[in-house]
Symmetry: D2
Subunit: 204 residues, 4 copies
């Protein structure tokens, strides 16, 4: 698997405190799997390696909750209703800020926030990828079977070469990880790698 610097993009999905930091609203739910596979450290390695290799970074953020979200909507999903109730990634709060180790740097692209699971849906991600000449995307971040999987499925349908990184993500259960990487990933992704594989491919 080769990742030409000028046509590869690293999609960093939802590196929020609520997911990645002690005390975050969803941190406890993801922690067992994250600790088991070493998510946080692997994310640090992949992001650092991508920066070093000159691969463009795209922040792909979930909608930051606001108190009056969904109020006038016809069809919010139960999942969206739950997230709104818990005010996950709440706008203007610590939980909706980036984890300290994943602060955007000059030149990073911050994509519009997405309302559901896919970073492409209702955002400028596809446009920004094209404007940067990206044809291959490497997906890391949270969670393997929700935002990463939806973003990956959309990327494949949009014609991108899609790489999942099985230990630079996490989920709320081992079986959700298994579903993402063993059952579903192989039906749409072009490559399912480890962090080690990625570092080998793009340089450490």
């Amino acid at each position: 698997m080769t990742y030409p610097r000028e046509s590869t993009g690293l999609l960093l999905v939802d590196p929020y405190n609520d997911f990645l930091s002690e005390g975050g609203k969803l941190h406890g739910l993801a922690k067992p799997v994250a600790d088991a596979v070493g998510t946080l450290d692997n994310l640090r390695k992949v992001v650092a390696a991508a920066r070093k290799a000159g691969i463009q970074l795209f922040y792909v953020p979930h909608h930051r909750a606001r108190p009056d979200d969904l109020k006038s909507w016809k069809y919010p999903s139960p999942y969206q209703i739950g997230a709104a109730r818990a005010q996950v990634f709440a706008a203007g709060t610590w939980g909706g800020e980036w984890h300290p180790d994943f602060q955007p740097q000059a030149g990073d692209v911050l994509v519009h926030e997405h309302w559901g699971g896919s970073g492409f849906a209702n955002t400028d991600l596809d446009y920004q990828l094209k404007q940067h000449g990206v044809q291959q995307v490497i997906l890391v971040g949270m969670l393997a079977n929700t935002c990463i999987e939806s973003t990956g499925r959309f990327a494949a349908e949009l014609g991108y070469h899609v790489t999942l990184v099985r230990d630079a993500t996490a989920a709320f259960s081992p079986e959700a990880m298994h579903a993402a990487h063993e059952l579903n990933g192989p039906t749409y992704a072009h490559a399912i790698l480890t962090t080690e594989d990625v570092l080998t491919a793009i340089g450490p």
Copy 2:
């Protein structure tokens, strides 16, 4: 859950002989789960009930394979390459025809063929739903964790109310069914029902 006749659509995904008929190329792979949950009979029931209730039917077909598919493509996925090699749902063959019990009738909408998993991607499905005033979609057909799930994830991102029917679909393994309906479905779908539930809601 209510399904107003005029704003509900039934999406019938890939009711091909290759999936649903004895001798079909993928029939054997899906048969254990399909037999266990009664897929074929439930599909018959849901389709008949929808027709009787005056709910609009949309055929959502996967691309029918042709010998020279993908030849000039940069990034066909391994899954697409495998399907092309096996010429699944081959154009002009029995495997790519509709199962005899699911022949389109006058007034049904035949959506453009999709290249990947989502019936929305690169097709006129969203347009046809809008042109028919559909705001809620009920998804049935094959397979639970591939085309149904991708179509459902897209439908949710597009703003539709999404209903999965857990026994009017199938998969290549029980754990893939489990992943579709217990792990992933609840993160994007609005309702996950049984055929019996659907018949109760729209009339038998």
Copy 3:
């Protein structure tokens, strides 16, 4: 032409000071046509009538310029380059604020900013319309042959019923207005009305 309250949306495109207020960067260019057709007053009337009728308002804003926009882009268009150079609708400036008479009110939907001409492209407009049950859109704002026309062409392709309002918009020349409403509008729009027509249809 009828506009049911619950399935109609008013799309208010780019009501920025830079377009609509004395001293705005593009105000002078639009002023001759705007004065001739009474754009500002007609916008006030349509917006007030829509609010009174209980029709949902959607703000459809162009990207607010930032100094480092487009820097890393492969294919910014000449038009985008010009707008970036002039910092039209600059973020954090008066020019990029709403005209005083078109301040959003509680319950209005603020759509993501768009990068080009279409309010649908790379934004959540289609999603928000669906989440509010909107099937018919009335387009007002600036400019007739650029953002309004692109948004209208996209709306039609997405399956919406599209209404243009010929005197609740403006352009940089009378011939651009003519092109928008006499040459191109009739090839995609469902209705091309006057403000007076709209007031009659939805109530003054």
Copy 4:
């Protein structure tokens, strides 16, 4: 302007007999402008030059009319209703066949038919472009202010580099041509060339 062979695509829009051949349903309407600018001969030159240069061709076809089209639609536009009534580009008829000089050749991509004006809307054009590595599109065919313009506006919003060719298209009036190339084209396109310019750029 440079057009690298491997990242450029020629989009050939609606080269149907109904547009381009004597006796076609829309031929008479387009003939005055087409004769004046030499549309047919320029299309021949551009297509030949693209083939010779190894630039990928994409056929971008409008929906071929069928007698029962639009019957169940909520919001067909007046333009679509007119085209359906006249059965323009009727399926299975001479009018809906390619002009004899523009027969697809092995390796050409035939995109799904579009329902409105944009070759991207509800089709696999964006997907096919990505699968062929195309980042720059050259648009030729019919008509300048309808399908070419809608396809061009969409292409720009999708992040492509867009080139219009002012004498390899036509319209129903000189003012519609003027609107397409002088008023609107410059607001979204990256280049507006002549056939001669294109031949110089890609080789004759």
